[in-house]
């Protein structure tokens, strides 16, 4: 039931850190249910871009609207957007002083004012989906990196978000644990959620992405379908990038 309606609209986005121009004239629209993979060399601004979408970063020029809500300096609007957008971080950022279950139920209970019982039931449902229900009463530091990241994904699902942002979800993981996280993400991709993933997992991109965005030096250099992205890259910069990462 993919509607052809834009859920994220980024227009002429420019951002500076001091005098450093991190994002240059970014224009990007994401349709409801679409899966976008953003890749590019480090320092190209891809993380910064998706962090602008839920206002973890401020920007100086341009506009972003999420599900019809214009992202401005208004706390209420920022809050409204953050309720619809969930983020999975590179370093998981689970709350170490809370059990896995409490990590998941915190937002539903405090932000959505859900009764604790209902929140617990929902949390268990999502933990089962990421195959980790038996760890519900442990603390984050007792789990492996892969398990923690799956908990983090379950935590963001608990908000029942319309949009999921992934900020290099597998790059802090041991090689053996990447697969378990990617499997969960591939499962998610089959549903109707809009996903924007910053990742270097090219296999994942090939498999699930509707579009792949390639960024370099703060700009979107190329946007392409997964097929053409790898087989017929148009820009020289992307050709070089692919050569570098695929040569091993």
């Amino acid at each position: 039931m993919k509607e052809n309606k834009e859920i994220i609209e980024i227009k002429n986005l420019n951002k500076w850190y001091g005098d450093f121009h991190v994002l240059k004239d970014i224009n990007l629209t994401v349709k409801r249910g679409e899966i976008i993979v953003v890749c590019g060399p480090s320092g190209s601004g891809k993380s910064t871009l998706i962090r602008c979408i839920n206002r973890l970063e401020e920007f100086q020029e341009g506009s972003i609207s999420v599900d019809g809500i214009e992202l401005v300096d208004d706390i209420k609007k920022i809050k409204a957007i953050r309720e619809e957008v969930a983020m999975v971080f590179q370093h998981f950022n689970l709350f170490p002083h809370l059990t896995i279950l409490d990590n998941l139920t915190l937002a539903p209970i405090w932000v959505k004012k859900m009764p604790r019982k209902e929140a617990n039931a929902m949390a268990m449902k999502y933990l089962e989906r990421v195959n980790i229900a038996e760890q519900a009463n442990k603390y984050p530091n007792q789990l492996s990196g892969g398990q923690q990241q799956r908990v983090a994904i379950a935590r963001s699902l608990c908000k029942n978000p319309k949009i999921m942002l992934f900020d290099e979800p597998t790059s802090a993981l041991d090689p053996e644990m990447v697969a378990e996280v990617l499997d969960v993400m591939i499962e998610l991709a089959k549903e109707d959620k809009t996903m924007v993933c910053v990742t270097h997992e090219m296999g994942f991109a090939k498999k699930v992405a509707d579009r792949i965005i390639f960024m370099d030096a703060g700009q979107i250099v190329e946007e392409n379908t997964p097929e053409n992205f790898f087989k017929n890259p148009e820009s020289d910069r992307l050709k070089l990038f692919l050569e570098q990462i695929l040569s091993h």
Binding site: A86, Y139, S156
Partner: protein, 361 residues
């Protein structure tokens, strides 16, 4: 190339375990270490037996007069005769059950904390305890006789000043610590100025200011209780130190925790109270207990504004012409009482750290 067999795990060699191994490698591992060990034992031999002889073997425990102290050791009769003064100051003897009730209630409160889960109920109970304690010790309500604060003294006053000081300084300290981290320049500069000003002034000065200078600003006829003024001064003083310790804790929290809380959609206060402060306070426990211990000892300074805490009562009693010459016993007693309290706090801190440690594998 090559394939290696799986190596079975086995226990460490027995020559590297056990008591004699421990002694050999910890006390006598090198000639210097051995010499230091022997020197340490010698010093202990030099100090401990004479002290035990004075404090216990040759000491006098029985009797009620000066004449009963004739064995040449410590005269604990002095302490026994004056113990009520040390514990309650000038609090009327028929009303002392009220103070004892507060002590008793404290243990009941602590016991109930073991069974109560909800932090909110704990906080409410603690407030009820403090208010009930205040009414009990002051009287003038529910048919209890009024006991003015200048009759309060001894250990009871020491505990009261320390407890009220810490408990009331804590929330102010949290607010100041958050204020110092704030993005709003006015709140930030007010917090920084307050903390740096208070930390630049000795506690004695603040006590003097609160007891002598503060009343000058009140209109004539308005009087403020001396103890209350001292408590306000101490709470203001401690708040600055507590704020700095909490700030240390706040700075140890990774940026990712703030971001995760933001991304979840928490408001500032939800983020702080549910995510950041619980972790920051956990980190700050050792330092916060350190501040509490220091404050417990600093309460002895209230002597200079005319309040008679435990130490002051002991000094006063030792100056009693009848018991002249027994200061040593008095000070040893004070040392012992302070040590019990401070050591308990230190132990409590370690228990807290263990309890809140969620980093265990």
């Amino acid at each position: 190339m090559a394939i290696f067999q799986k190596v079975e795990t086995r226990t460490a060699p027995s020559s590297t375990k056990g008591f004699s191994y421990w002694i050999k490698y910890n006390l006598f591992s090198t000639p210097l270490n051995a010499a230091l060990t022997l020197l340490g034992i010698a010093i202990l031999f030099w100090i401990i037996p004479p002290f035990i002889k004075w404090a216990y073997i040759n000491a006098d425990f029985q009797g009620s007069t000066r004449e009963d102290c004739n064995s040449g050791g410590a005269c604990w009769v002095f302490i026994r005769m004056k113990i009520d003064m040390f514990m309650y100051g000038f609090y009327p003897s028929v009303e002392r059950w009220r103070v004892n009730t507060i002590y008793g209630l404290f243990f009941i409160l602590m016991g109930s904390f073991k069974f109560l889960k909800s932090p909110w109920i704990k906080v409410i109970l603690m407030h009820v305890y403090f208010i009930a304690g205040f009414i009990l010790v002051r009287g003038d309500m529910f048919g209890l006789e009024y006991v003015p604060t200048d009759k309060w003294g001894g250990l009871m006053l020491t505990i009261l000043v320390a407890a009220v000081g810490i408990v009331s300084a804590f929330p102010i300290g949290v607010i100041l610590a958050l204020g110092r981290q704030s993005n709003l320049p006015i709140i930030k500069s007010v917090s920084v100025t307050y903390i740096e000003f208070i930390r630049g002034v000795p506690l004695i000065t603040i006590l003097f200011m609160s007891s002598i200078i503060l009343p000058l600003f009140f209109p004539e006829g308005v009087t403020f209780d001396k103890l209350l003024r001292a408590l306000i001064g101490i709470a203001m003083f401690e708040a600055a130190y507590i704020a700095e310790n909490i700030r240390g804790g706040l700075q140890s929290i990774p940026k990712g925790q703030y971001e995760a809380a933001d991304a979840i959609g928490f408001s500032y206060w939800q983020k702080m109270f549910l995510i950041i402060l619980p972790q920051a306070l956990k980190v700050a426990i050792p330092n916060l207990v350190g501040v509490s211990i220091a404050l417990f000892q600093d309460t002895t300074l209230v002597l200079i504004i005319g309040l008679f805490d435990l130490l002051a009562m002991v000094r006063l009693s030792a100056a009693d012409s009848y018991w002249l010459g027994y200061e040593t016993e008095g000070y040893v007693f004070v040392t012992f009482i302070f040590w019990i309290f401070c050591y308990s706090m230190s132990n409590f801190s370690q228990k807290l750290e263990k309890r809140f440690n969620t980093n265990l594998r």
